[in-house]
Symmetry: C2
Subunit: 249 residues, 2 copies
């Protein structure tokens, strides 16, 4: 049963029902009218090759995206400093939340590997929000969560050692993969060491050295970008134990 763009499928299913990341998407929990309205607002999904970015016009973001497969990074350019990675996006994540409101662009979004995203223009989102309480609530929820994640990241960046940052980074991805039904202890990091360093505020050499040390300490196993976490509690201890800078003791 093929579907015409923006129309319901004959059997009453929406395109979203067929999406593998339905459970993490904004559309979760939408029912009846709202669900079909949401579905019909979606643009055809886009594919990005490694290194390609989500096009945006003159520093303006005009759409929200949901990652279907693959992964992306957000890169913020600033005067007087090198570009900086501020976020990694995995399947099911919402990209572009920080453009909501005035469409100003938080930074380039670049695919780390071959990636599919699903596009939802802000303009159409507006009208959906008017009618669907569930969607509003999910969107606010997502933004609130992102704000809290940013807080956590700010804390990590300002008062923690390189060891703590990397342990925390690994645990973050462990958790995120777990939420997506993948192994929480063995996964592939699609970003380079340079990306990790930029994200964590560390020099690339430090990233390499600390990961090497973790391996010697049998906390993890490394094979290129493939990581195996040998002891989650061990990594937690690294984050919590050695109290790091500003610890006050």
């Amino acid at each position: 049963m093929s579907f015409v763009s923006g129309r319901l499928l004959p059997d009453g299913e929406s395109r979203c029902d067929k999406c593998s990341h339905h459970s993490r998407c904004l559309s979760l929990g939408l029912e009846g009218e709202a669900k079909y309205a949401f579905d019909s607002m979606l643009e055809r999904s886009r594919q990005l090759k490694r290194g390609e970015d989500l096009a945006y016009e003159e520093g303006r973001f005009t759409s929200l995206y949901v990652v279907q497969t693959g992964s992306l990074k957000q890169v913020v350019s600033q005067v007087g400093a090198r570009d900086q990675v501020t976020h990694f996006y995995l399947p099911g994540d919402l990209v572009g939340l920080d453009g909501i409101g005035d469409g100003r662009c938080g930074g380039k979004i670049i695919a780390l590997e071959s990636t599919f995203v699903c596009e939802l223009p802000f303009s159409k989102l507006e009208s959906l929000l008017q009618n669907s309480c569930a969607l509003r609530s999910r969107l606010f929820h997502s933004m609130g969560t992102e704000l809290r994640n940013d807080r956590r990241m700010m804390c990590l960046l300002s008062g923690h050692t390189a060891d703590q940052r990397l342990a925390s980074f690994l645990l973050e991805f462990s958790e995120r993969f777990k939420l997506r039904g993948y192994s929480p202890t063995c996964f592939n990091l699609s970003m380079s060491r340079a990306d990790i360093g930029s994200y964590l505020g560390l020099a690339i050499e430090t990233v390499s050295r600390v990961l090497g040390r973790f391996q010697k300490q049998e906390l993890i196993m490394l094979k290129g970008r493939q990581v195996t976490l040998l002891t989650l509690t061990g990594l937690c201890h690294v984050v919590e134990d050695s109290l790091g800078r500003h610890s006050g003791f």
Copy 2:
């Protein structure tokens, strides 16, 4: 003309019209019905003494607040690290945006001086959002802006020297005071050096030293917590020029 809680004033004015920070509040741009509905949802405003915090129940935030006068800080507590200041709030700022969605608490909100806030319970906000497109849009706008600010902060924390962080901090407050109609070059910092250090990821001694150096360099003048910025462009140069860590040059 006194007013009964939650009722319109006889002359058709809302309480918000009388608020000195109307122009920066969520209620800006609301008209007619929406404005009065908004007004009627407000709890009586609360006063906090220096050091008092906005009460929240068991780690949950249940209201949004607008600062009327005074200032506050957000403090995040974490295991294995000392408390950390993540935000400063000035008159007109919205407090509690990161609790929107699931009401989880981002951190304690503590008054830095005698402070008045205006309370708007999330539960009531919900129903307002249902009907007012303008309010929805303003709220999303505020959250998007906050997300972008957090990005900026993350960049500042991860790739910049102490000098850059402090110069940037001073310029941030300059800008914020300017937006509120105060002097952008001469203002009072209501927070302690320790708060500044925590916010910027620096030791208190470093804050003191760098500020002292800025004074020697005639970039600023200090008298306790009173700061005068002598050259905004000079401070900008500090942020942009000395390319700091990770600059790659």
